[in-house]
Structures are given as structure tokens and as C-alpha cells.
């Protein structure tokens, strides 16, 4: 075993040094450079993942790790580009991973302090210097997440947001892609002070290769809502890491809609640190053809009486692959834990698509309620016949049933306008992928 571990580590470190040779730490100075150097030290010790890592058993990280990325075809008019357009929001635009001041709204908003990461070093943001890279570093155990450390070290842009009040108008990060080769790393850090509230939206194609880290510290009694759509471009490869900590009575709700993408790995590492905390994380993924989508979730109940939900729905066709690795860890003090996890795949048009699921529970408290389930299936012929017998053509009936299948995930979106917007977006995708 020891020998195998050494061999693996060596392979990982070789992968890391090849990647690091192609990169230089962004200029910045001050506290941000120290945070980056710390991340670099973490990364060198871990190396970058390879296919032989247990945590990457179902997803080959090669395209995410390689020193250079392939170009990905730029799409013209993105039919999904209008998501969230009907929502009143504070819009922040990134082009190929770089903040675009002209296309963005004024960053001043009541109850929020928003700063560009690229300018953070020039500001003495006490909260940010204590936060940037902190949750990522804490999230490296019990499972290493080296791509996140790589991001902390090399991300050139992003936003730092501190919420101090209850803010209803969402902050929307929109990622535009203009360069076919763009290889972008973006890192956001959000701190919600006790009792504050905010909603973060994310949308857009982003880059040919996109790496994103989102660190969210939800203070006592604070609420964080997160709704994200990942663009429809087929050739994109991306990995994202959400690191979150939820304080006493705090609430975190995160939903992601992914349509297509050659390779997507969305990781979430959430720790419920205070009594009565709530964390709901959900995703709907739609893949047609060369599509590989991986949701890897790790939720730790470290305090009593917290609730967590993981709801993942994947619609796969034409040889697409869906992966779900989800864990609920209930530590000894976390009595009265309520944990729920469901991952389901709907395979359309034959059985050439696949769903690989690894649900896990690890429980050290004795008074807990935890359930998990995972299913793979096709459209229920009884339901399909019922709808057709009422006059719906087969394709229309199927589309309705697919929407019904993902409904449980979309229901995790609190705001009804946002939920409706996501539903419309999804229906549009289904419409284009019929037959």
C-alpha cells in the first residue's frame, strides 16, 4: 500500500510540475501573494489528480490537469444567453475570465461590499485577507482537492463580496467567452455576516477551459441562495469547487443547471458548523452525445440538529455519461441530523448512456435521520401512455416527463421567478434536443 501511495503521489507531483511550468503567480503583492504562495505549497505537496486517484475513478481529470488546453469551438448566438435577463439583478461581466468594467453594473449596492479580486491587494480588506483560500485549505481534508488549490494560487480575477444586510436584488456573474482558447481561472470569496442575506447567480459559457472556486462563509442566521447555469457549448471543459461553511441557523441553497459540456466536474464541500444550520445542494444536468458530467458532493454535519439535502437529476442521451459521488459525514456531536440524498438518472433513447453513482454515508452520532437513494431508469411507459391518451404527441409528452423528472431539483430554488426562468431555459434545451 505504502509503495502504491508513493507511486501515485509521484505521478501527481509530476502532473503538477508540468502544469506549474506553464504558469506564473499573478502579480499582486501583500496579503494576496502570501495566500497564493500558501496555496502553491499545498498544491506542490498534493500534486494534481490522475485517473488512478480513487476520487477521480469515474472522471478522467487529464483535460483539467494538462499544461495547455485545446481550443473549444466558439458558439455564435447562444440561445441560452438570455437566462436571468428578466430578473432585476446587479450584473458583473467577465470576458474570458477577466472582469469587464464597461459591461458590468456599478458595484456599489446597499448591504454589499463588492471588490474585484484583481484589485484586492490594493485594498486592505481585513475580512478578505482572513478568508481568501481559507475554506479551500480546510476543504483539503479528508479528501484532497488539488485543482482548487491550483485555482487559489493562480486565479487572476473574481469578486470578493461581503454581505452586511438583507439584500434581495441578486448579484449576477455572467461569463462571456470571446477567445476560442481561453483558459481561465476565477476565484470568488463571499462572506455573509450574521443575519445577512444574498443571492448569487452565475451564467455563461466562460472559457474553453474554466476553473472556478467559490468560497462562502454563511454567518449565524444568514441566508445564501445560489443559482447557476453552465453554458451549452459542447466542447467546454470545466471544474468548479464550492467550499462553504454554515453557521448557527444559517441557510445555504445552491442549484446548478448544466446543459452539455465535454467535461464538467462540480465539487461541493459544505460544513454545517452551527446548530440548526441548513444546506441544500441540487443539480440538473442534461447531456446529449459526448458529454461527461460529474457532481461530487461532501457534506459534513459537525453540529446538532442541522438539515442537509442533496438532489441530483441527470438526463442523458446519445452516449452521455453522468457521475454522482455524494457523501454525508455526520460527526459525533451532530445529533438530530436530518440528511437526505437522492441522485437519479433518466436515460433517453436507448441504453448507450451511463450513470455512475457512489452514494456514501458515514455516521458517528446515534440519533440521526439519514436517507439516500440512487436510481437509473427510462421514461415510464405508463405515464407516457397516459399523457398520449390525453392527446399529447409522444415528443411533447416525453418532454413534459423529463421536466417532471428534474422538477425535484428545480424545486430547491427558493425564488419562484428564478425557478421559472431555469425551467424555461431547460425546456428550450429539450426542444432543441428532440428526436
Amino acid at each position: 500500500m505504502a509503495l502504491r501511495r508513493e507511486v501515485l503521489l509521484k505521478a501527481r507531483q509530476e502532473a503538477a510540475s508540468a502544469r506549474l511550468d506553464a504558469l506564473t503567480l499573478p502579480a499582486g503583492g501583500g496579503w494576496i501573494t502570501r495566500a497564493r504562495e500558501d496555496a502553491l505549497t499545498r498544491l506542490r505537496a498534493m500534486g494534481l489528480p490522475t485517473r488512478r486517484d480513487e476520487y477521480w475513478k469515474f472522471t478522467d481529470p487529464a483535460a483539467l490537469v494538462a499544461p495547455a488546453t485545446d481550443s473549444a469551438e466558439l458558439l455564435g448566438e447562444d440561445p441560452d444567453g438570455t437566462v436571468f435577463d428578466t430578473i432585476d439583478r446587479l450584473k458583473i461581466v467577465f470576458v474570458d475570465g477577466e472582469f469587464d468594467a464597461d459591461a458590468s453594473d456599478d458595484l456599489a449596492a446597499e448591504g454589499l461590499e463588492i471588490t474585484r479580486l484583481a484589485e484586492a491587494a490594493r485594498h486592505d480588506l481585513h475580512w478578505a485577507r482572513d478568508a481568501y483560500g481559507l475554506l479551500e485549505a480546510e476543504g483539503q481534508a479528508p479528501v484532497e482537492r488539488p485543482l482548487a488549490a491550483l485555482n487559489t494560487a493562480f486565479a487572476t480575477d473574481g469578486v470578493l463580496i461581503r454581505a452586511t444586510g438583507k439584500v434581495s436584488r441578486p448579484v449576477a456573474l455572467h461569463y462571456l467567452r470571446k477567445d476560442g482558447n481561453a483558459d481561465a481561472m476565477v476565484h470568488h470569496c463571499i462572506k455573509l455576516e450574521p443575519g445577512s442575506e444574498m443571492t448569487l447567480l452565475e451564467s455563461g459559457a466562460a472559457a474553453a477551459r474554466f476553473s472556478q472556486v467559490l468560497e462562502v462563509d454563511v454567518g449565524d442566521g444568514a441566508r445564501f441562495n445560489h443559482v447557476r447555469t453552465q453554458g451549452r457549448d459542447h466542447e467546454r471543459v470545466s471544474n468548479s469547487n464550492l467550499f462553504a461553511r454554515v453557521g448557527e441557523g444559517g441557510v445555504l441553497k445552491s442549484f446548478t443547471l448544466s446543459a452539455n459540456g465535454a467535461l464538467t466536474r462540480n465539487e461541493a464541500f459544505i460544513t454545517l458548523n452551527g446548530r440548526d444550520g441548513v444546506a441544500h445542494i441540487a443539480g440538473a444536468a442534461l447531456g446529449d452525445g459526448a458529454f461527461h458530467h460529474d457532481d461530487t458532493v461532501f457534506i459534513t454535519h459537525a453540529a446538532p440538529a442541522c438539515e442537509s439535502r442533496q438532489v441530483y437529476k441527470k438526463v442523458l442521451r446519445g452516449g452521455a455519461t453522468g457521475v454522482f459521488q455524494g457523501k454525508i459525514l455526520v460527526k459525533q456531536p451532530a445529533q438530530l441530523t436530518d440528511g437526505y440524498q437522492i441522485s437519479q438518472a433518466l436515460l433517453l433513447g436507448g441504453d448507450d448512456s451511463q450513470f455512475l453513482a457512489k452514494p456514501e454515508l458515514e455516521i458517528y452520532a446515534d440519533d440521526v435521520k439519514c436517507s439516500h437513494g440512487s436510481t437509473t431508469g427510462e421514461i415510464d411507459p405508463e405515464q407516457l401512455f397516459y399523457l398520449r391518451s390525453r392527446g399529447m404527441p409522444e415528443e411533447e409528452a416525453s418532454a413534459l416527463l423529463v421536466l417532471a423528472f428534474v422538477a425535484e431539483a428545480i424545486e430547491e430554488i427558493e425564488n419562484p421567478d428564478l425557478a421559472e426562468d431555469v425551467r424555461t431555459h431547460l425546456a428550450g434545451w429539450l426542444d432543441r434536443h428532440r428526436g
Binding site: 392527446g391 413534459l400 417532471a404 428534474v406
Partner: protein, 257 residues
């Protein structure tokens, strides 16, 4: 006055697709005229529900002989949705639960799909909402039930009332009710029967499949057929149902042999 033939079934034979040795319908002959209510009674396994499924186009059955026409048009080659658009409606014995699809969305999509298929304009939201609310009210369907997912978590009575609501909204020409009374208490049955009776008119035909006579006290049929081993073995008036109620099927079946 000449009667319009709504549904005409001639010498219909059907077997299971998976197992051709299982022959369920063995020469059904039946004509339902517009404006009339026909009932089919028969013991379990006589082929009543299969007849309903074959008429509505459900997969799993192979028609080997015979024909079925709706208003003179052959429907056996039609898809289920085409039959629906042509005016066929089946009220299911076991209405299917569809979690995730709201009852309103379902109703509206169905109504508009049929209109589209017939080349009619879609119903506007306001028009649709008003129609649903009015019809739901007469069936004592709470507005809350309209918001819930289709049949999901509905009681037996709610499911059957929901079937009748769909029938009322879709305004079919030929309504088949498959064991609509099963699992209903007397009050629920009466509500369903009232809903059906309200839809009786000169331009609509009904085929009411039931195991028991009690439903026919509320939906009084013009013609009663007894089915056994995949055929109609006896046809009579409403009094035939009473005969079954009193003496059971044994005598009739013996006589038919």
C-alpha cells in the same frame, strides 16, 4: 331519425404482443350510437379492460382481426394521441400518478395539443382558467387539487373525479369509462356519476365498463352488454344489469353457451 354510429367495433380479435397464445378478445361486435350510453359488464378476466386499452391505443396488444371506427374513421392504425384528437377518451381504472407535472399544466397542455391537432386555435390562459374553475367546481374539486401534481397523492375518489374533469375539459365524442366505480364510496360514486351525466348529450357516446351494477343506478344505460371470454354474449336493456345483480353471471353465461 337515423342514428349516427359513433363507435363501431366489428369482429375484434386481440392478443398479447408478448405472448400470442394469450388471446383476450375473440370477436367483439359492438356499435355505440351518438347520444347513447352503453354498459359492458362481465366477470373478471372477460376482456373488458383490454377492450378499453385496445380502443385507446395502448401498446402491448396486437389486433389480429376486425376493425374499429370512430365516426366512420378507422382508428386502429392511429397513435393514441391521434385517437384522442379524433374524439376518443378513456377514463382509466387506475389513473397514473405523474409527480412533477402540475395538474393545470397537464390539462392545459392536453387541451391545446388536441386543438392544435384539429387545426384549432389554442385556448387563452384566461379562457382556460375560467373553464377549469367552473368545471372543477361542479365536480367539487378544490382549487388546491388543481395545483398538485397529476394524481399524485390523490385519494381514490379524487383520482376518479380528476378523470371526469379531464373528460369535461377535453369534450371528447366517445367516452370510455373503465371501472370508474372501483374503489369509490357511495358519495364519491354519485359525484362521478353526476359529472358523467352532465356530459351526456346527443352528440356523444359512452361505453361504461363495470363489474357491478351499482354504478348503473346513477348512470342509467340505454344498452347493457355482457362480456365473457372476449366476446359479447348477451345484449339487453338496463334491466339486464339488474338481472346480473340479482342472479350473478352464472345463469347468463350458461345460457350463452
Amino acid at each position: 331519425m337515423e342514428e349516427t354510429e359513433m363507435l363501431e367495433i366489428k369482429n375484434l380479435h386481440a392478443q398479447l404482443e408478448e405472448d400470442p397464445d394469450v388471446k383476450i378478445l375473440n370477436g367483439v361486435n359492438l356499435t355505440v350510437e351518438a347520444g347513447k350510453v352503453h354498459a359492458i359488464m362481465g366477470p373478471n378476466g372477460s376482456g373488458k379492460s383490454t377492450l378499453a386499452y385496445v380502443l385507446s391505443g395502448r401498446e402491448g396488444y396486437e389486433v389480429t382481426e376486425g376493425s374499429v371506427s370512430l365516426l366512420g374513421e378507422d382508428i386502429l392504425e392511429m397513435e393514441p394521441e391521434e385517437r384522442a384528437a379524433a374524439g376518443m377518451f378513456l377514463a382509466f381504472q387506475y389513473p397514473v400518478e405523474i409527480p412533477g407535472v402540475g395538474n393545470m399544466t397537464f390539462l392545459r397542455t392536453a387541451v391545446n395539443a388536441q386543438r392544435k391537432a384539429r387545426g384549432q386555435e389554442e385556448m387563452s390562459s384566461t379562457e382556460f382558467l375560467k373553464a377549469v374553475r367552473d368545471k372543477a367546481k361542479t365536480l367539487k374539486i378544490e382549487p388546491e387539487m388543481l395545483k398538485r401534481p397529476v394524481n399524485t397523492g390523490f385519494s381514490g375518489g379524487e383520482k376518479k373525479r380528476n378523470e371526469i374533469l379531464q373528460m369535461a375539459m377535453l369534450e371528447p365524442k366517445m367516452c370510455i369509462l373503465d371501472e370508474t366505480d372501483s374503489g369509490l364510496d357511495v358519495d364519491a360514486m354519485k359525484l362521478v356519476a353526476d359529472g358523467v351525466n352532465a356530459l351526456r348529450d346527443a352528440n356523444r357516446g359512452f361505453l361504461v365498463i363495470t363489474h357491478y351494477q351499482r354504478l348503473l343506478n346513477h348512470i342509467v344505460p340505454d344498452v347493457v352488454h355482457i362480456m365473457s371470454q372476449g366476446r359479447i354474449v348477451k345484449t339487453g336493456g338496463a334491466e339486464l344489469a339488474l338481472e346480473v345483480e340479482e342472479n350473478g353471471y352464472a345463469d347468463i353465461l350458461a345460457e350463452a353457451k
